[in-house]
């Protein structure tokens, strides 16, 4: 069925978008390297292929006038998912161009930001490409040709999105999401119990701050009540004067 195909393709696009964002975050930092740039290039090519495929499929489904109302609502929902994904992808591509230009790799004195991330991003890219291992080419034009390609790809994506808006008449605000608030907690995957929470030092501790406020509450109550009484008294006096003015 068209719907299932669509959903699988959208899931794939979603995965690639998430991985691409993860890779862009590492740009400019100490985990940046030629490999990372190549991974970015491959991931976004894959993202574009998926995007084109999704777009053709969804456009053909939405243009079909013989579908039922529920089907149409479902396709519109998928359409909104698709366009949100594309929005994120476009922004990330533009940002990767900007950061890539700011932090070129092939210069003698390169100052990458020491962010504390030193591991490689190979596994993330492999996940995006759905392969076991990534193979890299010894490409040396990472600063010039790659960025040029990136620019042209960004224009392609922007054009595609404009075309999409023109051709398909979907009101995004009319779509109702299927997931309610807190739906992500009900998933059955093990992402929730990440072991990071045990040793991470940068977690905040909110419980400490609540105790200090208790002592001051008594004084505050007295002040508040006194102020209230004064204001009421003043208002009554003023009202009395006004009514007696005539």
């Amino acid at each position: 069925m068209g719907k299932e195909e669509c959903k699988t393709m959208l899931d794939a696009l979603n995965k690639v978008t998430a991985c691409y964002r993860h890779l862009v975050i590492a740009l400019g930092s100490t985990s940046d390297s030629q490999n990372l740039r190549e991974e970015l290039k491959r991931t976004r090519k894959k993202a574009q292929e998926l995007a084109v495929a999704n777009r053709t499929k969804l456009t053909s489904l939405l243009k079909d006038k013989t579908i039922s109302k529920e089907d149409r609502a479902e396709y519109e929902r998928l359409w909104v998912l698709f366009s949100s994904s594309m929005d994120l992808l476009e922004v990330d591509m533009k940002r990767s161009l900007e950061i890539g230009q700011e932090f070129p790799l092939k210069v003698p004195t390169r100052h990458l930001i020491q962010t504390g991330m030193t591991g490689s991003t190979t596994t993330v890219a492999a996940r995006a490409m759905s392969v076991q291992n990534m193979k890299y080419e010894a490409d040396s034009n990472v600063d010039t040709a790659d960025l040029r390609d990136l620019r042209s790809e960004i224009t392609q994506v922007s054009q595609m999105m404009e075309e999409m808006e023109m051709k398909v008449q979907v009101a995004p605000w009319a779509v109702e999401a299927k997931q309610e608030a807190g739906a992500e907690l009900k998933s059955n995957m093990s992402v929730g119990n990440s072991s990071v929470g045990v040793i991470s030092i940068c977690e905040e501790e909110p419980k400490e701050e609540d105790g200090a406020g208790g002592r001051d509450t008594g004084f505050a109550t007295i002040c508040a009540v006194a102020g209230f009484v004064i204001i009421v008294f003043v208002a009554v006096v003023l009202g009395y004067l006004v009514i007696n003015m005539s």
Partner: protein
Amino acid sequence: MTINTLAKGGWHRDQMACFRKMEKVIVAMQDPDMGMKMRNQRLLITVIPHAMTGRDVINWLMQKYNMCEEEALHLGGMLVRYGYIYPLKEPRSLVLRADESPYRFQTPYFWTSTRWPATELDYAIYLAKKNIRKQGELMEYEKERYSVLHKRINHTWDFVVMQAREQLRASKQRRKADRIVLECQEQAYWLINRPPVSLTLSTFRIYFIAHFVCVCVCVCTFCLCLQIEFCRRALGRNRVKSSICLEGFVKYSEQYLSHDPIMQGCLPSNPWISDDTAHWTMNTEVVPIPSRLRVERWSFSFMELLNDAMGRREFMTYLEKEFSAENLCFWQACEDIRHGENSRIVEKVEEVYKNFLAPGAARWVNIDSKTMDKTLKGIQHPHRFVMDDAQMHIYFLMKKDSFPRYLKSDLYKNMLAKAIVPQEVKKSVFPFMRRQRHSSPSPAQAVAQASEEEGRA
């Protein structure tokens, strides 16, 4: 599709200069030789490199830019406040401490950028991720914002959930140290772009709101009392129907039509066009022979007569004949008090009393007893408007009694006959010296022509 015009528009915006400068400072700190001294951060099992103390930062700034400690503290504080450096021990307190507290650099993606401001969609994805990681244990303000966002961008909520899950799965692919750093980075970014509400407010909030409500209520009651008074007074006022108002207005316009220089043109000629000041010289205050239009105007209303100096004089002459000139003199004296100098009010009131109001005065005016009593009482404490009632009484007396008789009198009729109608200056022979009565075709003429044609047809 989200209404994400910000992201699209960012392509054309520029990064603010202050941020570009801060970025340069940060990049300069990365120099392997002259840059910041890096230490290692030791957690329970993992060791994460690239940490620095606050003291290191300040020393480096002082050395590199040759500034004093205070300035370095300030600059360092800005770097922390705008998210280029984030604290590791107390992530919520975004200040630079000049001691051993650890800091780390933020990755360029999460730098403050005017080109790429933080969007609601991103924040929603972050909150969803945090929700999953902490099994629903978000902070109060985060929970509120979560529900607000859920309502606001409800149409993309599926995407938010999907993306949050995928991003967490992607980050699971990294090793532990990197995952910790990623989390800290993202948390620092959102602490700056979506700062939490103040913590102490929760205890005082109730009292604050109660105070505010009370003040509002009191102010409202006061305003309402005033409004009631105002409405009560307004009910008692006279009202005139608009049809009657408009009739009066139409009558006025018809009456004054021939006197209007714009509608009717002025005789002998319009000084502004013909540069001939005859019109003005003929209509000065005191003229041996007034123009006809002027004399006609005296008959329109009593006020017109009194406002014209010549008219007043003529009227005074008439009243002297009738032996009621004291009325006009009294009225003039009262006008003088009303519009005169403040310092002379007392002496003027004294004079008026002596001449007009005192029993057995030389020019005693006839006022009814009630007004007289009120005026006499007011004279004890004289002020500008103390004679108002008496003056009004005399005014209406003259208006009802003397004025109609004056209009019917010989004096007025002679005046009218004597009044001149200046000749219209003819158009000059020479075409270059055209003197026109009308600067442009008057609308009255057009109307007159139209009505003539209608009459003929």
